[in-house]
Amino acid sequence: MKKEFICIVCPRGCRISVDDDLNISGNQCPRGKTYVENEMKSPTRILTTTVKTIFEYTPRLSCKTDKPIPKELLFKAMEVINDVVIEEEINIGDIIIMNILDTGANVIATKPSRKKE
């Protein structure tokens, strides 16, 4: 089975295909090959989402993993994050969850739980 990828390294957006013998074609530069090799081997993504708080003014705080995590763990990570409730004032960059799902990535706040400015 052939697999198709759209390369996102540059705006050209080459459509790159990989066949059963792992031959890569359709890329117009070497960066496309590297991109597809990574996507085949171990695709990772930064997860951005929100976390509940007890604060009336900011009922949700935005957060993210500070490193990309394996793509197949995105939904599991969402479950973990959706179980958390922030009860203390928090600053941008503060760790909310350490080493989520043993990925080595922390979930950190991307917004302060700011009171009215």
Partner: protein, 421 residues
């Protein structure tokens, strides 16, 4: 009490302009209608902001905070929860009318005004989809705000009309929060969103993208809630192809069909409008035909990258300072800048020849995807400047620098995109 400058809007654009002007020693007041600074960035919790200005991949709120911190350190005057509801000019003085729940109506006077009020989303009324008018049809940006700032998921079975970036980002976001996202329909044969979003928001989650498709009917249940939509294929002239109809059972239809600059507060001032950008016409100082009135950010033209809003608004801020310092060569004439072949629009639309500066930043969008394009600028049928552009796409605004000294004193300018032969 008379201000040097009033900045309307506290998003990326307003903040950048206010900081620039304040740092030049001018007296600034910024007015924001929300109860927080940062504008639309606050609800854009995904990452990918700031590659150019900060060489970082910030999320929207992180990007906003970089500027909010500086803004607060500078101790610039500002009002939150305050909406500008009127703007008038008498003689050389602007009067800004504001409304606030506890203060009521107030008036502020100023020598100059910077309008950085952002953009609003096109709604169903602007594209007229036939069918019922049930609950459950909502713009993608509103759904984004409900979900990311209030924690409310607007639906469980979602379809998205329009492949703009907001729609793509929301497809992923709602999917991650447990909604079923049945597909995205785009009437054009190509997507309007960035490739990166097609890949990471749709392909990653096996959400189908229906190109050359549109929603042809909206059907409500007995309780005035959305229950079904019909999606059909269109031909090259956007005519619906009979028999191509698919039915989707959904409770939510998100509309991601474009942004329009919000300059409604300028309605009474008699500003010149550009029908291409759907905003005002400005010169290279971002000044409108009303002296002392400046416009920048999404209020001037819809930007896909916040870095471009920041850079543009800083330039606008510098121009305001120049204006207040009366730094203009002589009362002079203006030339008009017109979009030619393959250009959807261009800003600025005018050049003020009395405002000499080293380079003039020109921003435009192409009408189609072009590889190895050349941007050519003509004046009096003569080529005065050209620049190679590796790749242009309608989804990505381009900005180039035109050296002032290449411009002749007389004759309108025309900007075109050609494929390099």
């Amino acid at each position: 009490m008379m201000k040097d400058v009033i900045v309307i809007g506290g998003g990326a654009g307003g903040l950048a302009a206010a900081i620039e002007i304040h740092q030049a020693g001018k007296d600034v007041l910024l007015i924001e209608r929300e109860e927080f600074l940062g504008g639309i960035l606050n609800q854009c919790i995904h990452n990918g902001f700031g590659l150019e200005v900060f060489k970082e991949e910030y999320t929207g709120p992180e990007y906003a905070n970089q500027f909010i911190d500086v803004f607060l350190q500078e101790k610039i005057d500002y009002l939150l929860d305050t909406t500008v509801i009127g703007l008038k000019k008498e003689g050389h003085i602007f009067t800004v009318e504001t409304s606030n729940e506890s203060q009521g109506i107030e008036f502020y006077q100023t020598q100059t005004v910077v309008v950085s009020t952002g953009s609003y989303e096109r709604t169903r009324g602007q594209i007229s989809i036939p069918g019922d008018r049930p609950y459950g049809v909502i713009t993608a940006g509103s759904a984004q705000r409900y979900l990311n700032t209030d924690g409310l998921l607007v639906g469980k079975k979602v379809f998205i009309l329009g492949s703009g970036d907001i729609g793509l980002i929301m497809a992923r976001r709602m999917k991650l929060e447990g909604a079923e996202v049945l597909g995205v329909a785009e009437i054009m044969p190509h997507s309007n969103g960035l490739n990166r979003n097609i890949v990471q928001c749709l392909n990653d989650f096996d959400i189908p993208l229906y190109l050359s498709h549109t929603v042809t009917e909206i059907i409500a249940d007995d309780h005035q809630r959305l229950s079904k939509i019909k999606v059909s294929k269109v031909d090259e002239s956007f005519r619906v192809i009979k028999g191509s109809e698919k039915v989707f059972e959904v409770d939510t239809l998100l509309l991601s069909i474009g942004l329009i600059p919000d300059v409604t507060i300028l309605d009474d001032l008699g500003v010149e409008i550009d029908k291409r950008t759907k905003s005002v016409k400005v010169n290279q100082a971002y000044e409108t035909n009303i002296e002392g009135l400046f416009v920048c950010g999404n209020a001037l033209q819809v930007h896909d990258l916040v870095d471009n809003v920041t850079l543009e608004s800083k330039r606008a801020g510098q121009a305001v300072v120049r204006y207040l310092n009366k730094d203009k060569v002589k009362e002079n004439h203006t030339l008009s800048l017109n979009p030619g072949t393959n250009l959807a629009y261009i800003t600025p639309q005018r050049l003020d020849m009395g405002l000499e500066q080293e380079n003039i930043s020109l921003s435009f969008r192409s009408r189609k995807k072009m590889e190895k394009a050349v941007c050519k600028i003509y004046q009096n049928s003569q080529l005065i400047f050209e620049k190679k552009l590796f790749f242009v796409l309608p989804a990505e605004m381009e900005t180039i620098q035109l050296p002032f000294k290449t411009i002749q004193d007389q004759g309108d300018l025309k900007v075109e995109l050609e494929v390099k032969s």
